[in-house]
Symmetry: C2
């Protein structure tokens, strides 16, 4: 049966190789693996930015960060950018959100255009094109300047309060912290507390809660086909998980860090600045990895269990027959690899994501359980979904390519490079490097063999040979032997940078049609006299056209 609906599941900060089907030796994710057995597992799926906000804005618009401009967390997606929701609704499919987007509305732009945030159009613009069933970005931080103002999350707070969790900030005090014997909060912000059991019943923690909300959404649907973006908050930090997941993994389950002393000592200056940032230094310590990684694995195990709950429920309710299911992440997590934490660089640990797609249609029967090694990007999802919805892919707006040919086993995938970007102008690292806002930007261009990272500001590039050095330990960016490769990769980046990404008001078909349209509307350029007017382009002015019509008999 052809897919009628789409369940688009995103986990947050789920590193690709922490699934057993992607090779983790100690962390079993049987439910995610089950999806891989039902569909296609992509091994070269790249996000357009190794950071939540810009990565998601690319996924939701189907456009590169350089095209939509929301290049940092909290940088609003400018009004006018078209979203997955715009494209899907045009094709008759609803586009709904349950969980996180990291979207910040362009309030100034909305004011400029007079868009009321309480109108349907305004609300969609403010929510990155989604109709909101429940928004929850999973971030309720409070500091000396007051709370971090992030949209959403009120419903989960209300849920916690209804369930009897007390305090000013139950998100922090219960869902994301442990508790001492004396009853003090052991804050999840401190990584040494990562091993504590979250001070919450497991079923009230964020992942089971959002799973139930996703199912509630699906049950609420009527006849209109839907896309449900079930967008989990975890396994993103704070690294705290409720029992029994908090002590499921011991020291033996921690894979050793992928890093080398030489890699650190001779690091490219920009990379070195990330390695020696507070986050990099923290994750370079064994005690941090030992505290965080078991909790991170527990969070993923909980995600997998909940994904199993979801799959079973979809099967039991007959929905597996007509629901496309996509499982992916917005980026990975270095976890101390390459002397870094978090995700804000371009090694595969951060910029490659798990991507598993199940298409229930018979055309996909031939690819079930297979692995696809083609270069794919997060921006490919939006056009894939438009095709499932039966719409026409507006490829003058959407910069990705539908994955359906790959899901249906067709040949001819032609992408020869993937692009990812990171704009760190809003970080202290830019200060440490003495870089202007303009120059605090990096681009990654990668094909199957080579990955080049270009840093603005006059630095040499970084280059990895993914064949010979899949762990990305040996930077060849200053290798004389690789100048030709570097030049070729720069050519790919340059060609990409010149793409006409903003010509979004005219399709290719319209432009081609225009090649003859002007003359047929009477604009006849470069014509000296009547003899040069082609017969089929004779033009008329007024009723008497004697001097304008082509002479008779010619």
């Amino acid at each position: 049966m052809k897919a009628r609906n789409i369940l688009f599941v995103m986990f947050d900060q789920l590193r690709w190789d922490y699934l057993s089907c992607y090779g983790h030796p100690h962390l079993a994710t049987p439910n995610m693996d089950r999806l891989a057995a039902m569909g296609v597992k992509f091994t070269r799926a790249y996000v357009q930015a190794p950071l939540c906000g810009p990565s998601r804005m690319s996924t939701y618009t189907g456009r590169y960060v350089h095209s939509h401009g929301a290049s940092w967390n909290g940088t609003p997606l400018k009004v006018g950018e078209q979203t997955m929701g715009d494209h899907l609704r045009d094709a008759g499919m609803g586009c709904w959100l349950v969980g996180k987007t990291h979207m910040h509305a362009d309030a100034e732009g909305m004011r400029r255009l007079g868009l009321d945030p309480d109108s349907i159009i305004g609300a969609r613009v403010a929510e990155c094109g989604f109709d909101v069933f429940e928004r929850d970005d999973g971030m309720r931080a409070v500091g000396p300047d007051g709370p971090l103002v992030e949209p959403g999350g009120d419903a989960y707070d209300d849920h916690l309060r209804r369930r009897g969790y007390e305090g000013d900030n139950p998100w922090h005090d219960h869902a994301n912290s442990g508790v001492s014997e004396a009853g003090d909060v052991l804050s999840g912000w401190f990584m040494k507390n990562a091993g504590e059991a979250a001070n919450i019943e497991e079923e009230d923690s964020e992942t089971p809660y959002l799973t139930r909300r996703g199912m509630a959404f699906i049950e609420s649907r009527g006849e209109e086909p839907w896309l449900c973006h079930l967008s989990y908050i975890k396994p993103h930090w704070p690294y705290v998980v409720p029992a029994p997941y908090n002590d499921m993994y011991g020291p033996d389950a921690i894979v050793p860090p992928v890093r080398g002393q030489d890699e650190f000592d001779n690091a490219h200056p920009v990379l070195k600045a990330f390695m020696t940032s507070p986050v990099g230094k923290a994750f370079s310590r064994e005690e941090v990895r030992n505290a965080v990684i078991p909790a991170y694995m527990g969070l993923i195990k909980q995600c997998d269990d909940q994904f199993g709950v979801l799959l079973d429920w979809l099967e039991e309710t007959g929905r597996l027959r007509d629901t496309m299911i996509v499982l992916t992440s917005d980026h990975g997590d270095f976890l101390g690899d390459h002397w870094m934490g978090e995700k804000t660089f371009f090694h595969d640990a951060a910029v490659k994501v798990p991507l598993i797609v199940f298409d229930p249609s018979p055309e996909a029967d031939g690819t079930r359980g297979t692995v696809c090694d083609e270069l794919v990007e997060a921006i490919d999802l939006a056009p894939t979904f438009v095709e499932i919805a039966g719409g026409r892919v507006r490829d003058h707006v959407l910069e990705g390519c539908s994955l359906l040919p790959l899901l249906h086993g067709k040949q001819g995938w032609s992408r020869d490079a993937v692009i990812s970007e990171y704009d760190f102008a809003a970080t202290p690292i830019a200060d440490r490097l003495g870089l202007s806002v303009r120059d605090s930007v990096m681009f990654m261009v990668a094909d199957k063999r080579w990955k080049l990272i270009h840093c603005e500001g006059g630095f040499r590039p970084i280059l990895f040979d993914l064949d010979r050095d899949p762990e990305e330990l040996h930077d060849l960016g200053d290798s004389e032997a690789h100048t030709q490769i570097i030049s070729q990769m720069y050519d790919k980046l340059f060609r990409w940078a010149r793409r006409p990404s903003q010509r979004t008001t005219r399709s290719e078909e319209q432009l081609i049609e225009l090649r003859t349209a002007l003359r047929r509307r009477g604009v006849v350029l470069g014509v000296y006299d009547e003899n040069e007017i082609p017969l089929d382009l004779t033009v008329h002015y007024r009723n008497r056209t004697a001097r304008i019509r082509r002479p008779r008999g010619q």
Copy 2:
């Protein structure tokens, strides 16, 4: 006195070297020259596209074509793009149109956002940010597929009818055609008719009419400071002008074409395709030049006379004291130079424009009558106007630089290259070259010495040495001796292509402020325990913060 208002005069297709102050040997433009004596004359002013629509969209948005995307005539400027009008009104200055913009509204985008074209906001979005006193794009063509649907022009049609000009299309039949003794229309579309006197009283032709409309606008203004974009239709084709201008210039006044046989024989394939297009072939004929150029000169002479009327009137009414006056064009006209007609390539005849700026303020007294040889671009006008209006230039949106420092004789202008673009995907030339829509694009990057033209589609570049070959007759794009220069020019183009042109929702100041903001809102990344919290970043959760506050005494 500081400028309070701005009169922003644009002529259409006015070639830079057809003003006497720019060196034309036979065409006296004393009134334009008078402005040059009052202000600064720029000798290296480049438009962002050698075509009306995209050039104007760049001027009106202050952004490159690659940034706003309206890269072809009639390609709508996408909703959400900010305009000169948005910036000026924020600074308390009105932004008004009298004449042509070539704007096409993004009707689909406006529908998507629910913008009513009849609301004030919707009307401004549809009119490229201008409040319309009178819109007239000067194009009332009719062909076998019906009329070319261009906005505006009704008021001029009404004027002609009121004045007794008959026919279905008085714009064509009277303002832009001659008449035979038998009373037949001698259509201005046919260049052989260029020498005919337009079948209209001089005072009713387009240039005097718009001059009067501009003065009527200015007289109608109250207290609010204004920018008036007085945007003439001429000397753009149809090349027809009323008496006495139609026979003011004889064959001796026609400057010889700048072209060489070798230039034609060995032309780069893309350039050759333009030379051998119907327009190129037509303008390569002497009879065409001999017919068109005297009419073109007559049109300019009429423009100059009308500009004189305007200047005198401004002086008499005391308005010269507080009005900045800008005179420029949207592009030039090849007129047979380089075997081409029209403007759609990057030789100076097409891509360089006259730019004269008069600033009445005392700060500009030191530069009156001077010449500025710096590299300036049409996108520099919008920020200049914002400064005059007393606004803050939003340089994360506006890509040009205010010209005020140059007008005030200050040092430090730092632009090292200008960029222009031409997207010919909608033209038959793309077909003849067998190019895809994606590859029917060219970029020009020029500094004071070198001009490089990059054509997509795998061609070698075109290169001119503007010092040794100011006539641009010798293409060095395949010269072994210039590989270093070519590489340097490509570096400039590449750096430009990577600019963050879409990050328009965050200013540099905001990004820099964010470098510390997250922590102060309680997001403390990479912190193992309390000892790693800087004193001034202590965070609080709930009332009891014992485990979170930094230990006492440290």
